[in-house]
Symmetry: C2
Subunit: 345 residues, 2 copies
């Protein structure tokens, strides 16, 4: 990857992360050893994507720990717990943020002096980040096996390096295939209303030297009908035990279009995305967001005042439309049985 | 219709038309007896939609004729011919504009004095406008027969009153059904990249008291899956003899989604839209527009500089996805045979 979404600068003791709010017009890093700057970065969506937020949270705890002047582990722990609570509160519904901070908390609990606590916390954050990178790469390696030289894939939203601590999930197979010398072309849906495809996916693929073509969401069918798409790969926010997958609004449409045109539709996501408590996608709760997002485009208001809107943030793609689910553990083909994740092969 | 897209003000000898470039934020009329203002209005897309442009062109000829000081028919005819050429040149590919001006030209040719020419030209423009209104209403009457009280329809782009001299094509069945006391709800796709659904369809339905909900194009599948859509009605730019229909980009997607969800997909358009020289939609040429439209909206640029884009302005919906084509002559069911339009029943 030519650009890194988030990075620990060992020599400076600082975190370096891309300020994604400025993309794609300005490419700027935030470099900080102040956990309040990290809170703000997570809040402003300067860093976004579940895995990337988890990594950012863990580094937030590290710089928070380093900023404390305490010599005594009891008061150190007490104040660091308060910092962790602040970091966690920034995006209360981000499961990965809470998960990462809890994991840092368990490490903190085991330490008996401040210095070893600082060392152990940094080690844990680096480990968590490395695991995320390895997860992405494993998805990429498995997924790249599905891609042949010269293929074109279509993706929706951003499940790339900008959303993770590594090379992404949906885009990882593309990056690995490119490393293997395969020439892969990508069509990126712009992904209304928040345009992650235009702002982020087009940007990161371009920055990493991948041939990318941006289209509006409603152009995917034409591109498919022309025979220009060999496979669809998207990420997932949550996967039910039967393989039904919730992802950014518009994904279900892409899956239906792919089916009609005889194009395989793949979901790429870590097994941590599987929620085996859900027997099907019907029980996945779908967040509805502000109608302002639909009524406008950036800061331009396009719809008449007072217009009714409907703005579901996600949709659910039924498992029967999914040709395979690519996780760090391998390629899973139907019938999906994710009830027992530990035993997935 | 509570608002009229274009209107002849008999007492003032002026044309009054909605300035659609300012919609939906500002509702303003252009009232003019200057044919240069009309040229500018057509050029700036203050008036758009094939039928509406034709009507505007005809009134443009009328006010052009009224502005000439000539007493002698020969020089009057010569200068009016020059005005007609100017009007026609504003949008050289708008077939309806050329058609309307040619029709006015034939009337001009038959006149022997200036005063009777002025009268005949106005009569012809009013007749042309009235025919367009009647065509819309006939489509509306036929189409309304397909709609029952309480139904919800989904539409794409704007084929409404703002695009015609009457109540529109795709929206005419909705307006007539509402007149008949049926409660009809409409979902309007915003229609990227130019957002005619958000800017125009949502506006005109709201202004005419129809319950409208705006969605992004990629949300139509969710709305359908929820069982909220009973029928889809869209317009058409060109229809081949076999019923294949070219319309705004995204229409083909909506047709596929409707088919998958078991929802009837209707095309509403005047028979003048049928191009019987085309045996199928494969030979309909598809205009590709500037990538800037995909890379942003208005003055908001969302994509990275230098990104590749693909921006087809239209797509073709194959006839097998179309449950019926609604024209001013009636409801046409498959198999479509539009080779002999004159004998259409």
């Amino acid at each position: 990857m030519k650009i890194k979404t988030i990075e620990w600068l060992t020599d400076q003791g600082k975190v370096k992360l891309i300020d994604q709010t400025k993309l794609p017009h300005t490419f700027e890093y935030i470099v900080t050893d102040d956990f309040r700057v990290m809170c703000d970065a997570i809040l402003r969506l300067a860093v976004r994507g579940a895995p990337a937020i988890g990594v950012a949270g863990a580094y937030g705890v590290v710089i928070g720990a380093n900023s404390l002047k305490h010599k005594e582990i009891g008061s150190f722990r007490l104040d660091l717990r308060s910092i962790m609570a602040q970091l966690r509160a920034v995006r209360p519904t981000a499961v990965n943020l809470a998960w990462a901070i809890d994991r840092m908390g368990r490490v903190l609990d085991k330490q008996n002096d401040v210095e070893s606590a600082r060392t152990a916390l940094l080690r844990e954050a680096l480990a968590l980040h490395a695991e995320d990178e390895a997860m992405c790469r494993a998805i990429g390696e498995h997924g790249a096996g599905l891609l042949r030289d010269g293929m074109s894939i279509l993706t929706h939203c951003n499940a790339g390096s900008l959303a993770t601590g590594g090379m992404g999930t949906a885009l990882a197979p593309v990056y690995v295939a490119a490393e293997q010398g395969k020439k892969i072309k990508v069509f990126s849906d712009e992904t209304r209303p928040l345009l992650q495809g235009a702002r982020l996916t087009a940007f990161e693929l371009q920055a990493n030297g991948i041939d990318v073509t941006l289209i509006c969401d409603n152009m995917a069918a034409v591109v498919m009908r022309k025979g220009w798409v060999d496979a669809v790969i998207v990420g997932a926010d949550r996967i039910a035990a039967n393989g039904d997958a919730a992802n950014k609004i518009g994904t279900y449409t892409v899956a239906l279009l792919a089916k009609h045109h005889g194009i395989p539709f793949y979901v790429a996501a870590p097994t941590s995305t599987v929620d085996h408590s859900l027997t099907s996608g019907d029980s996945i709760p779908i967040e509805e967001r502000s109608g302002e997002e639909v009524a406008g485009f950036g800061n331009v208001r396009t719809a008449p005042p007072g217009v009714n809107t409907f703005n579901p943030a996600f949709d659910v793609t039924p498992h029967e439309l999914i040709a395979a689910i690519i996780t760090e553990k391998g390629i899973h083909r139907p019938p999906y049985n994710f009830h027992d994740i530990a035993n997935l092969k």
